[in-house]
């Protein structure tokens, strides 16, 4: 058990280090830099060069990388090259929008995927089951941005029930407005992610249906579906936990698009803006935090899986 956790932990750290190098290097390929942006369009090349020097861009990449990663290791995500603000503090501030948004989207996705996924498996072969899986297939293929625009048109423009965009300027000091502002964005991500998850739940349920223990339960007098619901579902739950890491990644990507569409002051929108201003230290720290989040969730999922699934426990 401990050895398993240890090896997983080492893999996690290695994964983070490799990602940090990749993030750092890919960002250096982008055209344009923050020095040009600060200097603007009346500046001479000499001014831009002087700014570059003072911002430390002319130092070897290895020095720049170690300075950054050294800070990250001691819990300092660095400061914005443009505003001088602490990256960690800004991330924490924007997380107040993105984290609730992500959680709401996740809950919505699960509320859609689990009941309907199981139903569509139980109804397999019936018209209603086919209808469910076709709908899920179609929804899963919908681009998030399009789904968002449709929801805006229906709920904000036609019905006027929810705000079309924006977040209250007081933030969570106005809890009701803040919550309302997140409903449509969370629905958008939740529906698309939920439709994808639904297909997964369906196939996991179908698989469980064919398992020995379900068959045995059925043989003992339960109907096949009842046997499935009573004995098969825990196995399905485990499969859902397995894809949770992927789900979180999907929700993060979705939030980048959706925060843009709904003008929400969250991490996704900040990330896009920072890439737009080439505030590279900020961008690389933000990306590393997001990557870290996905990797850590993957790590936890692995551990849970290991704890819960007796076969894996014995194999280790």
């Amino acid at each position: 058990m401990i050895r398993y956790t240890f090896t997983r932990g080492v893999l996690l750290i290695a994964g983070l280090l490799v990602s940090s190098v990749l993030i750092f290097l890919t960002l250096r390929v982008f055209p344009g830099d923050v020095a040009q942006l600060i200097a603007g369009t009346q500046a001479s090349p000499a001014t831009v060069e002087a700014l570059r020097e003072s911002l430390g861009f002319n130092r070897p990449l290895l020095v720049q990388y170690s300075e950054w990663i050294g800070g990250v290791l001691t819990g300092d995500l660095g400061t914005s090259q443009l505003s001088g603000a602490s990256v960690g503090a800004e991330l924490a501030e924007k997380a107040q929008v993105t984290v609730p948004l992500g959680l709401m989207a996740l809950v919505i996705a699960l509320l859609i995927a689990v009941p309907f996924g199981i139903l569509s498996a139980l109804w397999r072969g019936r018209a209603s089951g086919t209808a469910l899986s076709v709908t899920a297939q179609a929804l899963a293929a919908v681009p998030v941005i399009w789904a968002g625009m449709m929801l805006i048109v229906v709920f904000a423009v036609w019905l006027g029930a929810l705000p079309a965009q924006g977040f209250p300027r007081g933030g969570w000091e106005q809890p009701w407005q803040a919550f309302r502002a997140l409903i449509l964005p969370a629905l958008t991500i939740g529906i698309v992610e939920g439709a994808m998850l639904l297909r997964f739940v369906r196939s996991a349920t179908l698989q469980a249906r064919g398992q020995d223990f379900v068959r045995t339960a059925a043989a003992k007098g339960l109907t096949r579906n009842r046997a499935l619901v009573q004995h098969g579902i825990p196995a399905v739950g485990l499969s859902i936990v397995t894809v949770l890491g992927l789900q979180v990644a999907g929700i993060i990507v979705g939030s980048v698009v959706i925060e843009q569409l709904f003008t929400l002051p969250g991490i996704g929108r900040m990330l896009v803006a920072d890439v737009g201003t080439r505030d590279l230290i900020k961008v690389q720290s933000e990306l590393l935090v997001l990557t870290g989040l996905v990797l850590v969730i993957g790590f936890i999922v692995d551990l849970i899986h290991h704890f819960v699934d007796p076969r894996q426990r014995e194999a280790a």
């Binding site: 055209p31 942006l37 369009t41 501030e93 300027r169 002051p265």
Partner: protein, 504 residues
């Protein structure tokens, strides 16, 4: 620097519909009545679009910073009025010697920094010496011909130049002319220690910047206790905020959304002039644009009146100098709308089937490129639009000059010098223009200098060095309780000195 122009058309359309519906839903608020007496304890709330990235006005370029900080937080020896006239500020008076080389400024007495320290001529010398010697400071290039900056006594500053420079005083109205306390250690990125009528109270990034009245101000004190700048990047959201009563003033109103505000009865709209020049740059050094006939054809192909209509605000402009700058002249005769002549010119140049690429920073939206694509198509020119991020534009177009056509809004006043600089991204090199511009700068008499500039500007337009699609205008919605809010040039300067809010 540059001002954001338009957003995604689709989103705007959707959002506009939302506004219309929400406007219909609620009953209009009764028009506010006021006693007319200014409320000295009032808080003025102003909606703006572009938030500064930091507050270090000495290093960071950008209209968003200058717009709120100059005259309100920081002051220079001189400043400029809404119509770009130079006025004394920290200096009670100034004198330019007849040879145009020596500038003598007399400081106002009793000026103090927000820290409480009194301002002396030594602070001015230190601030200007820094601009002269530190390449990373804004205005360093404009200080190139400064020979010396001295302080003969505590209230006098003398600046001598190596050669006359008609633009020098104007440079001092910008970031380069601001006075900072000598030896101060304030972190200018997030804090300030200016001399202006307001102090910085707080800055919530991504949301608001708040100023408070500086009670020990040396001049006439501000008439409002507090000013809150609300940054609302989305035009529709800005209009919504104005309509729900959370703003006293909304600047940079999208022309297409302006009627909403007007119909509400809660706002008066003003249209202000600016020095924003929407420049369609031609890479003058790159074939086929090195052929003046091709450049002329492109200009004649553009229906400028139609373009201004599509943009929704502003005026046509046919040369490099806008009305608010010295040297302006109506040059509409140089490039009248004439698609037939454009086709002839292209045929003469052997370019009947021309493919060109327009590089445009993506935040300018699609209105302008769409008009250009359709206008050019009518004369057989296929225009491909390459929308890029602004830093990419800076790298590819501005620095590497790797482009054919480019569009950006040049907002700086008196920036004609870019056409006299063969290294600027226009790649425009005309020695006659350069020498006229040099003469205009060296000319001590203002009117004579303006005349030389006008002559140079005509040459530039006749060479078709670029096309000037329009001269931008800025729409401001002001609540009737607010008086004295500036109207012109507020995209680069919002002087709050005379602004008052009536008691309700």
């Amino acid at each position: 620097m540059f001002r954001r122009n338009r957003r995604l058309a689709v989103l705007s359309a959707l959002a506009a519909t939302a506004v219309i519906l929400s406007a219909c839903a609620g009953s209009p608020e009764p028009v506010k009545t006021s006693t007319g007496e200014p409320d000295l304890d009032a808080t003025l709330t102003v909606g703006l679009v572009l938030e500064p990235t930091n507050l270090d006005i000495r290093r960071t370029s950008g209209a968003a910073i200058e717009q709120i900080l100059i005259d309100n937080i920081y002051e220079g020896l001189v400043t400029r009025s809404q119509d770009n006239e130079i006025e004394p500020r920290l200096a009670s008076e100034y004198e330019v010697a007849d040879d145009g080389l020596t500038y003598t400024f007399t400081l106002n007495p009793e000026v103090t920094f927000h820290s409480g320290t009194a301002l002396t001529s030594a602070d001015v010398v230190a601030s200007y010496e820094a601009v002269r010697t530190d390449q990373t400071l804004q205005g360093n290039a404009e200080f190139a011909n400064v020979a010396s900056i001295t302080a003969p006594d505590a209230t006098t500053v003398v600046i001598t130049l190596t050669e006359p420079n008609q633009n020098f005083l104007f440079t001092l109205t910008g970031p380069a002319g601001l006075v900072f306390q000598s030896g101060d250690t304030t972190d200018l990125q997030t804090a300030e220690n200016g001399t202006g009528p307001f102090t910085l109270e707080n800055w919530i990034k991504g949301s608001t910047i708040t100023f408070a009245r500086f009670d020990a101000y040396w001049g006439e004190p501000a008439k409002v206790a507090e000013v809150v700048f609300e940054y609302i990047p989305d035009f529709t959201a800005g209009v919504n905020a104005a309509l729900d009563g959370s703003l006293d003033v909304l600047t940079a109103v999208d022309p297409n959304l302006a009627p909403q505000l007007e119909d509400s009865g809660d706002f008066t709209l003003t249209t202000g002039r600016t020095t924003d020049k929407a420049v369609l740059a031609f890479n003058n050094a790159k074939a086929p644009l090195d052929d003046a006939r091709v450049r002329e054809a492109l200009r004649l192909a553009i229906d400028h009146e139609g373009l201004v209509e599509a943009v929704g605000a502003g005026a046509t402009l046919y040369g490099p100098i806008p009305e608010l700058d010295p040297g302006y002249e109506d040059l509409s005769d140089v490039a009248p709308y004439d698609p037939d002549r454009a086709k002839e010119l292209l045929a003469e140049a052997g370019q009947e089937n021309l493919d060109l690429t327009l590089t445009i920073p993506s935040f300018y939206g699609t209105t302008v490129p769409q008009v250009l694509v359709s206008d050019f198509a009518k004369v057989g020119v296929t225009l491909e639009v390459d929308a890029v991020e602004f830093p990419t534009w800076l790298e590819d177009v501005y620095t590497n000059k790797d482009y054919e056509l480019s569009f950006v809004l040049h907002v700086e006043p008196r920036d004609f010098g870019n056409f006299a600089d063969p290294d600027y991204y226009f790649n425009y090199d005309n020695p006659e223009v350069q020498s006229l511009y040099a003469d205009a700068l060296a000319e001590v008499d203002e009117d004579a200098s303006a005349k030389l500039l006008a002559e140079a500007a005509r040459l530039v337009s006749e060479d078709h060095a670029a096309d000037w699609l329009y001269n931008g205008a800025t729409i401001t919605a002001v609540s009737p309780v607010v008086t004295g809010f500036p109207q012109d040039s507020i995209n680069s300067r919002i002087n709050l000195a005379g602004v008052a809010k009536a008691a309700e």
